[in-house]
Symmetry: C2
Subunit: 395 residues, 2 copies
C-alpha cells in the first residue's frame, strides 16, 4: 500500500536539483526561452527519444554518451530545434558547453531543444544569457516556460509518494506539447525528476512501460517531430524506493501529461477517448484506435459535434484490422449509435449522441466483437484554430 499525494508547484518538490529560466532574446514577447536543470551531484538519467530518422542535434549529442552515464546539467531552449543542422549542430552544443564549463563543473551535459527546424543555434547569444542564470535557483515555473512554444497552458505536476512505513519520495514533471503529437511517439519535451532511490535498471524498464499507454496512445495531428524527448532523472536523495509505488506514480504522471498534450493540441477544444474492445488482438485494437484518433474526418466531425458514426465505422474498416459489420457496435459514451440491429440512428439516439459530443471530453467505444484485444487511444478535434496556427507557424 502507498499514498500518492498531489503537491503544489512542480520540480521544487524534488530534492537534489536546481532549475531556472530566463529570456535570452529569442521569444520577442520577453517570455523565457532558455532554461536549465542541474543537480549538485551527477545523477542517473534515462531517456526515450523520437523515432524520427532525422533526430535533432541535441539528441545525437546525448546518444554520443552511450548507454550508461550520469549527468549534472541539462540546458533547455525553445524557438530553435537545432534539427537538420548536421555535424555543425552537434559542434554548436559542444561549443556552448565548453564556454559554460568555465563557470560550472559540467559532467556529461545535455541539451534539449524545441522550435523551428533548419537553423543553427545562435551560440553567442545563448552563452551570454546562460552566464546570467542563477544556478542555485529552484524555480520550476521559470523552467517550464522556457520550453513552451504554442502551448496554451503550463504542464507541471508533482507527487509525494508515501509508503506504508511512513517514508516517502517525490516525483515531479514539466512538459511541453502542442502540435505534431503522434502515437508513434508524442512530440514533446518532458522531464521527470525524482529523489526516489531507484536502480537504473528499473528506471529503464518503468519509463519504457509507462510510455505505451500514455504518450504512445495520444494523437493531435499524426506527425512526429525530430526532437521528441522524455527524460527521467533521479537524485536518489530520499533514500526511499518501492517499485510498485514508483511505477504507479510514474504512470499517473505520464498519462496525465499525455492527456494534457491532447487537451492542448493546437486549436483543440475536446479530448476524446477512442476505446476499441473485442478485436482479435491488442495490436489490432491499437491499430484501429490510433486510426480513429488520427482520422481527419473523425476529427472534423468531433469539432462539428456531429454524431456521424459512419465515419467511425469507415475508419475502422479502413484501418486494416479484422472486422465484421454484423459483429460491430459503436457507442458515444453509453449511447448506442450502431449495431446490426440498429443500423439507422433514430432521432432520439441522434439527439442523445449529439449531447455527448457537446461535452469537453467523452468516449467513443467500438466493440469489434471478434476477440479479447483492447486499446484506448486519445485524440482531439481539428478546427479552424489548428489551421490558423499551422498555416504560418514560423511568423
Amino acid at each position: 500500500m502507498f499514498n500518492l499525494i498531489s503537491l503544489k508547484n512542480g520540480l521544487e518538490n524534488v530534492s537534489g536539483f536546481y532549475f531556472g529560466g530566463l529570456n535570452a532574446g529569442f521569444k520577442t514577447n520577453g517570455d523565457n526561452d532558455l532554461g536549465f536543470i542541474r543537480s549538485d551531484e551527477p545523477v542517473q538519467v534515462c531517456a526515450i527519444f523520437t523515432s524520427n530518422k532525422f533526430k535533432a542535434a541535441p539528441i545525437r549529442h546525448f546518444l554520443r554518451y552511450g548507454n550508461d552515464f550520469k549527468t549534472n546539467f541539462i540546458l533547455l531552449n525553445s524557438k530553435n530545434a537545432n534539427a537538420m543542422t548536421g555535424k555543425e549542430g552537434i559542434n554548436d552544443i559542444d561549443d556552448i558547453f565548453k564556454e559554460l564549463s568555465k563557470k560550472l563543473n559540467l559532467i556529461n551535459p545535455i541539451m534539449s531543444s524545441t522550435g523551428v527546424i533548419g537553423y543553427r543555434l545562435k551560440k553567442d547569444k545563448i552563452i551570454e544569457a546562460a552566464n546570467k542564470f542563477d544556478f542555485n535557483s529552484r524555480n520550476s515555473d521559470a523552467t517550464v516556460r522556457a520550453i513552451m512554444t504554442t502551448d496554451s497552458f503550463k504542464k507541471e505536476i508533482a507527487f509525494r509518494v508515501e509508503l506504508e512505513d511512513g517514508k516517502s519520495f517525490n516525483i515531479a514533471c514539466i512538459c511541453k506539447g502542442a502540435g505534431m503529437i503522434n502515437p508513434a511517439f508524442a512530440t514533446m519535451l518532458c522531464f521527470i525528476l525524482t529523489d526516489a532511490d531507484i536502480p537504473k535498471s528499473d528506471m529503464d524498464e518503468l519509463l519504457k512501460a509507462s510510455v505505451e499507454e500514455s504518450f504512445n496512445a495520444v494523437s493531435v495531428d499524426g506527425d512526429t517531430s525530430t526532437n521528441d524527448t522524455l527524460m527521467l532523472l533521479s537524485s536518489q536523495k530520499s533514500g526511499v524506493y518501492d517499485k510498485t509505488a514508483f511505477k504507479f506514480a510514474l504512470e499517473t504522471i505520464t498519462k496525465t501529461m499525455a492527456l494534457n498534450l491532447v487537451k492542448d493540441g493546437e486549436g483543440s477544444t475536446k479530448v476524446v477517448a477512442f476505446e476499441v474492445n473485442g478485436a482479435l488482438s491488442n495490436e489490432q485494437a491499437m491499430k484501429a484506435a490510433k486510426a480513429l484518433s488520427n482520422s481527419l474526418l473523425v476529427k472534423t466531425a468531433i469539432f462539428g459535434e456531429d454524431p456521424n458514426w459512419g465515419r467511425i465505422a469507415s475508419t475502422i474498416g479502413a484501418s486494416g484490422i479484422e472486422c465484421d459489420d454484423e459483429k460491430l457496435s459503436i457507442y458515444y459514451d453509453d449511447v448506442l449509435v450502431f449495431d446490426k440491429d440498429h443500423p439507422e440512428l433514430d432521432e432520439i439516439s441522434e439527439e442523445k449522441a449529439h449531447k455527448v459530443m457537446t461535452k469537453d471530453s467523452y468516449k467513443i467505444r467500438c466493440e469489434i466483437g471478434l476477440g479479447e484485444g483492447k486499446f484506448t487511444a486519445y485524440g482531439c478535434d481539428l478546427g479552424h484554430t489548428y489551421v490558423k496556427i499551422n498555416a504560418d507557424y514560423r511568423s
Copy 2:
C-alpha cells in the same frame, strides 16, 4: 503510333451506351441525384473497389456476381451510400431491380452509391423516380451530376484514339471525388466507358496497372471510404483495339481524373506533386511521398504558403524509410531549400521558395540520395474550408 484526340462532352462519344439522370427528391436544391448507364447488349465489366473492410451494399451486391459476367445496367445515386446497412442493404438493391425489371430487361444489374453511411435506401422513392428515366437518352452531363456530392466542378473527359491505319475507338469517363481521398485507394466513383474491342483479360490488367500511378497516388485527407468504385465497361462496338494505345488513353484518363480529385479536394486551393527520388526502392519512395501528401503539418504549411521545409524533412524522417540528412536535398520546383551544405534558408531562397508556393500547383522534390527508387504522390493543402465542409457534412 496513335493519336489521342480530346473530344467535347463526355460519355456521348462512346457508342453502345445510354445514360441519364434526374432529381429523385434527395438533393434539396433540385440537382440530379439518381442516374443510370445502360447498354443495348450486355457488356464486359471490370471493377476495382475500396480496400475498406466495410464495403458498402452495392459493392457486395456486385461481388455476388462472381468474376466474369456481363451487365447491361448500372443505377447510380448520391446522398445515400447504402453502407453499414447489412444484408437488408443488399436486399434493397434486389428489390429495386426487381421492380425496374418489369419495365426493362435487366441483365446482372449493378448499383453504385455515394453519400451518408448508415441509412437504408428509400426504395419506393428511387423506384418511382427511376420509372421516369428516358432510357434512350444520352446525356453525360445529367449522369455525372447525379453522382456529384461536395464536388465543386464536373469531372468528365473523352478521347478518340486514332490508330495508324485510320481506324479509331473512343473512351470516356465520368467521375466524382472530393473528400476522403486516400492513396490506399481514392474515394470516388469513376466510370470509364469504351467501344474499343478490348479482351476482358486486358481490361483487368490495364485497369489495375492504371490505378497505381493515378488514384493510388493521390491524397486529400488520408481517409478511405466504404464505397470507392472504379469501373471500366466496354461495348466493343468499334471493332477496333490496340493495347498500347488503349493503355496510354486509359492512363491519361485515370491520371487526369486523379489530379482533378486532388484539385477538387474539399476546400483545397493548391495541387502539389511530392516527387521523391533516390530512395532505396520504389516502395520506400512511395512510402515517403504518401507520408508527405498526408501530413497535416505539410498541408497547412502549403495552405499558408510558408516554405517551412523542416516539416518536409521531418515527415520524411518519420515515414520509416531509410534516409540520411547528409544525403538529403529538398527543392520547391527548382529552388533548393535544403542540403547539407545549405542547412539554413537564406532570404533570397526563402523569397524564391515562397513565390513557388503562391502558385496553384507546383512540385516539392526530395532527393534522398541513397538509391534509384522514385515515386510521385499528389496532394493538396488543408485550409479552413475543409474544416467547414466536414464539421457538419450531413446537414
